[in-house]
Structures are given as structure tokens and as C-alpha cells.
Assembly symmetry: C2
Homo-oligomer: 334 residues x 2
Amino acid sequence: MKKIKIAQFGLGPIGLEALKLAATQPWVEIIGAVDKDPSKAGRPLTEVTGLAQLDGLKVSANLEELFRDTQPEVILHTAGSSAAISLEQMRPALELGVSVASTCEELIFPALKAGHLVKEYDGLCRHTGARMVATGVNPGFVMDLLPITMTAVSRAVDSILVERVVNASTRRQPLQAKIGSGQSPEEFRAKLQSGRAGHAGLRESLALLAHAMGWPMDSITEVGEPMIAQHDIKTNFFTVAKGQACGIHQRAVGLSGGVEKIVLDIKMYLDAENPCDHIVIRGRPPLDVTVNGGVAGDDATVASLINIVPRLLSAQPGLHLPIDLPVPRWGFNT
Amino acid sequence: MKKIKIAQFGLGPIGLEALKLAATQPWVEIIGAVDKDPSKAGRPLTEVTGLAQLDGLKVSANLEELFRDTQPEVILHTAGSSAAISLEQMRPALELGVSVASTCEELIFPALKAGHLVKEYDGLCRHTGARMVATGVNPGFVMDLLPITMTAVSRAVDSILVERVVNASTRRQPLQAKIGSGQSPEEFRAKLQSGRAGHAGLRESLALLAHAMGWPMDSITEVGEPMIAQHDIKTNFFTVAKGQACGIHQRAVGLSGGVEKIVLDIKMYLDAENPCDHIVIRGRPPLDVTVNGGVAGDDATVASLINIVPRLLSAQPGLHLPIDLPVPRWGFNT
């Protein structure tokens, strides 16, 4: 089997997990990694990852340094939520025709926040032969790609509702921190309302759904509120007193022709009962789908990133939406 | 909007429904239909379909006759379960570079029953620019494409189980007949075991799953048994006495390395309680998905056929598996 040469950009928790998962795939050859953090750049990749099989590779400080030594076919990009910044970060790769799979939330539907860059980067990719796409669980799967896939069997679609409940008690520390665990409700509410806190990508999921259905949106509105602890909660990382914030509740609503066509509702909080993803498509036939227990976060995010690579390489050059690649799935077989 | 010129091949119940649904799509222009049945061939399409807007079109007896008058971009093929026969039926279209979307069950994974024809027809399509794919609900979605899509978020997949329960009481007469309603259990069991009765495509779903996961199969076995009426049942079409057959239970098992990797289990019977589709993927993360109420049959089958057309036309020429086209979805927007 011809292996696909992969380099990792960003060695935070998700990047490290992605690299570790990639290292177990028989179709992947890891040839390098990039992280600007001075505590990582320049060090052997074996040390940073704990993976002995990456012997001989070191962490490059930037793409230019990586490309002096080697050239991957695909870069796994796990270094931020901003579409504009992620595109700029990846420009040196795209200019060389190197493809990029990213977990950048805004890139799930880049036209929303970086519309002025889409044509330019799509053109760049087509010119050099690079392909770029973003993937993930949320955004990228449970609240967008999966409901879109369900409409494959719809004669008519009237509206789409997706509800996701995540039990944050089972998740890693940064997620528990991100959702305001232990903060005062007023303080965290202010952060949510000013955009300094909250889950990224909900609007992108909604915009991707709207695009896929061909529904022009009058407006996409999003509100966020803290979830309040109803009793004292203790996790591996936080102790939260009754009355403090213990999570977030975000809801995005898309109006088209004055009608609520898309509603996405997510609750991520400590000790959440009955975590699940629930998709309701009103139409003909009506569709009601439950992912019992929900799609677990980090494992699945990393998996979606590795799994998209074979589909990405089979696509035409360009900056792609995840729904325009072949049906996503585990593994290499195409 | 540039419309896609479509002709319908096969004017049975599914073909007629497909044509009616196609006629409501703003991106479709219906330009003809084919049926060899002398009671339909030669007659005005308005008469056969009841659709006044098809004024001026008549039913052709075969493709050659259709092509003397007009040339569609896509043919909707709803005329049988056999891959070999369906490919042969569509050869005149493929030779002209006309693409084909089919409900032929065996074409969901043609390598299983018509392996000797796949290379030839794929080559023909590539030569003429035609694209061909099969679609449907089962096979084509709930027991194959949907579970395959779920594995997009899997780090590892150990085994896949899909259970489908269909309440046949709510379905059309031919389906109630097909599942043995009112027949003696012994008689219907003999028909099931000799292949003269039963649901087509379960093996194809399993083979498609195995292919997508890259799992070589030691064997694919399928067993079928009648469901027995536990009480007298009356539908719009049948009266079934307690003890008579009232449905089918089919189960396909795929072994790989001596291990049960894929199990597909379908029950279609009269007065079935709690119809649903249930997908269990053992792996990391484990995934458990329920389509509450199940994906309804005929509406959804026809929808999947119309909805695949824009994706089919965006693909490269060739004989495709449904999982190798872009993410399936409602409507035209690509």
C-alpha cells in the first residue's frame, strides 16, 4: 500500500491526539509537525508525542522550516477557530499544492465569516492542485453533515431541528473550563454575550444546513446562556458550587421568509443527564433520529480529521465544503 | 436555473411516483419515459401519469425509440433488481453518454452478483462520459450508507449491527404481497429458502459495508424465515388469519477472520410494533443510532432517486458506488 505523507500543524491536545491516531493507520506516513510554541519547536517529535516510531523527526517552528526538509501530501491543521487566520496559516502549504484537512470551526462554512477569502483561496487551490476542507464532530458532523445526509431520503424538507446534549463531566479539562465551570453566572453570561466565551461553529453548522437545502436566510441569530449548577458538582478538574455556572446553552435560529427553518440547540454542562444528539426533520417523510449517548467529542473529532484524508485526496483541487466530498467514513478504502 | 433533462425508464408504481416527484422539482425537465408494457407504450404520458404538464410526451417502448426523439441527461431506472439485466437495459443510454440513476437493488454493490460486468460498464461510462449509480432506502441508505457515514467519527470500528423493523401494514399492496401475507408458513418458507421470495439487496448492503470498511469477508450468509401472525390481521389489501405468514425476517451475517463483523437484520411484517432502524457500531467511540419510526419506504425510495441526480452529475464518469458520490442530500444545491 502506498502511504500518504502527513504532517501535523498544531501540537495542542487535539493535534497530539490526531498525530497519535494517524500514527496507528497503516496508510499514513508521518513526516513532520509544526508548532510555533518555543517549548515545542525544535524538539524531537518522539519527546513531544511519546511516539517512539517518530524517531528522527523534529518539531518545526513554521511551515517554511518544515518544507525545507520535506513535503507532505496532507497537513492536518488543528490550530484555531478563525477561518481567516487558518487560511493565512495554510497559505504556504496551499501554494505548494499541499492539501489541508482542518478542525477550524469557521472553515466548516467559510463563506459566513471569511466570505471575502473563499474565492481567492479556492482559486489558489485550483491553481496549485491543493485541496482543503474542514471537518469535526460539532461543527462538521452531528449538527450539520448528519442531518444533511438524512435529507437524502426526503421528498420535501420543511424545517430542521437538532438538539445536542453533552455531559461535560466526561470531557477534558479545557472543555470544562471553556463552558464556564465554577464561574459566577453573571460574569460568564457577560463573556458569552460579548463572544469571549462559548462554543464556536454553531452558526457555521446552521449556514451549512441552509446552503445545502438552498434556503436563503433572512437572519441567523444565536443566543448563549450559562447553565447553572443545581447542586454541588465535583469533576476530575473542577469543583462547582450550587448556583455557579456549570455549562453553556447555545441556540441558533435561522429564519427564511419569516419562518424558523433551522434551529440548533446545544447544551454542554457538567453532570448532564441523557447526553444525546437528536435530529428532527419535518417534511415528507418526517425523520426523527437519535444518537443515543451522543457522539463523544474528542475521540470523534480526531477520528473525523484522519478519516477525511482519503476523501479529500480523491476530490478535485479546491477549497471544499465537507458535504461536497464523497460520503465520509472510517479508514482508507475508497 | 438550467434544468436537467430527465427521462423515466419503467412506469411501475415506483417509476410513476419518481416521475411525479421529479415533475415538482424546479431543476428538472421531464422529456420522456420508457415502458415496454404494451398497455403503456405509445400512450400519452399525461394519460399514464395523470400529470397535465407532461402534455405532448408519449411513452416509448424502448430506449432506441426514446433517443430517436430526444436525449435526456439522466435516466431514472426503476425496472428490476438484477444488476446484470439493469446494466444491459441501460447500455444504449450509457453508450450515448447518458447518465443513469437506478433503484436496482443489486447495483448498490454490483461486484457481488455482476462482478464480471463492473469493469466493462465502468470502462464504457468513462469512455462515453456517462455516470451510473444505484440508490434507495434499503438497500442504499438505512442499512449501508447511513451506518457507513456514522463511521466518519470512528477512531476504530470493530463490528456493525443494523436492525430494521418495518410495519408493512402501512405499505403498498405489492410489498404486503411480497412478504407472504396470508400464505401458509411452510409454503412461504420454501419460497424464501429457494430465493423465489424475500427482500432483495440485504447481501449487497452487507458487501458495501464490508467494502467501505476494507474488511475481506470469509462468507456472507443470509437466512430468511416467515413471520407468523399472532392474531387475525386485516389490512387495506389482505386478511391474514392467526398462524398464517404475515411477513419476513431476514438476517445476513458477514464473517471476517472467523469473527461476525457485520450483522444486518430486517423484519417486515403486518402490524409490526415500534418500527425503527437501529444502528450499533462497536468501536471507539461506540455509536448507537435510532431512526425513530424508521425511514418510511416508498416516499423515501423515490426521494433518494431524485436527490441523487445532482450528485451523480457532479461526479466523474464511471459506474459508481453510492458512497463515492458527494454527501447525498435533498435538492439541487451543490
